[in-house]
Symmetry: C2
Subunit: 284 residues, 2 copies
Amino acid sequence: MDLHELMMKRRSVRTFEERSVPDGVLDELLDAAVSAPSGGNVQPISIVTVESVEGRRKLGAIVGSQPWVRNAPLSMIFCLDFLRVGRWAKMFDVEFGGEKALLWFLIGYADLMCAAQNVVILAEERGLGSVYVGTILSQIPRARKYFDIPEGVLPMMVLSIGYPKAVPKTIPKLPRDAMVHREKYRTQTDEEIRRAFEDKYGTIDEDVVKYFERAYREAVEADGQQDGGWVEDAKARMDRLGIKSNAEFLFRLRYPSELMIELNEDLVRDFREAGFDLSSLTKS
Amino acid sequence: MDLHELMMKRRSVRTFEERSVPDGVLDELLDAAVSAPSGGNVQPISIVTVESVEGRRKLGAIVGSQPWVRNAPLSMIFCLDFLRVGRWAKMFDVEFGGEKALLWFLIGYADLMCAAQNVVILAEERGLGSVYVGTILSQIPRARKYFDIPEGVLPMMVLSIGYPKAVPKTIPKLPRDAMVHREKYRTQTDEEIRRAFEDKYGTIDEDVVKYFERAYREAVEADGQQDGGWVEDAKARMDRLGIKSNAEFLFRLRYPSELMIELNEDLVRDFREAGFDLSSLTKS
């Protein structure tokens, strides 16, 4: 398949066949990660591969209600790794200092995502499917403990990979012109913004299950893999909260703003315990 | 070319032919960015494309001594964009709150890099070359001013793209086993770490120009495009500082730890002025 078409059609896969990823393919995926662009080519990242039954079970439990992590034959935990480069520097009596520099944090996280996205694209091209699972960010202490991840190393993203049981349909995206600005940023009118999101999500005022199927297909598909209940629960909560718009659905029910903000404190604490003290990095 | 091979060989390109990127190819690259994975599919990013002579000149001046930004026929400025989604939410009387939630910042930055890396890979496959330029992070106010980037939108990464004048050689990377851990993180011995970096950079105790050519080819190539002087200057500074190791070269001369740490204050101020108050996000 043409690479442009592959990228356009690519969707997160959440149901996998049980067969494992052949070693040769796994090595190719890891090569792709290691060869990814890196700021200053310093490569301050590490990848923990998880294929064992016990590791999959444990990682699945850590990230919570996302059964595809346990069901995928392979997961990769992408970690920011300032330990390796810091110890190397120390051997030569020089300080890396990444854990004290916000810029290194930002560069390292960019590196980490370049590596992960390389794996996503190559996996897709090799007939595999994958899904990002970012919720490891809210379970850093448990992840660090089980996977022996030491101070100076921060697990930030999980990518679960395997042969798809079914090829999922594409999900709606914003129109290109809503995201792209030619030469200068052009602040859009309310009407333009409203229309762009309506293009993407459609209107909410019809059959709610059809609405989920169109706008949140991934959540509905996920629902089918668990004990179910998400669709029913979401319908009930929409009624209870009187939700009448996509924006309300997203930021009152699916990603409630208050909850997202409340998580700051836990995140900062978990980062600090892992040796990444954001509160000192960002003192103004 | 096979995609694995393409990813292994891919290198940042810093010399471009003058011919512009055809509109059809540009649209494909932007499609690839828009279709990239996005946490919760919220897509809180924007891309400013720069092709005009004036825009290239200005962006080149903003990022500093990196002539390839001005010389590339196309650059994309990848921005975290909480403004669009925030205004949309507000139209429906609900708060997005991304600017108050560290988790949204981390999710959005991951989205931004997925989009950028999709462009990198597709560009490569289409015979183009590209180079990431992260130094826009230290010039946020100037970038925001010239490109009319409003509050709530944060320019974080530039990608310069064009047809390569020459195909650059690959640069050294860490051995795969130094970055990959099977099932659990395995803390390496000093000897293992030392050897991994020596594999990558080679030893420093030989002809210093040959050393640069091997370990920092990109800096040497860059040097050739400017008025020159980097190699001479680096040699002189190495002598003056008594630099005898790769680690010292990296963290005393190329990315001096003290300087990287000093930049925290500017970064936090510039982020705050752009509406991203990291110091309040990361209060512990």
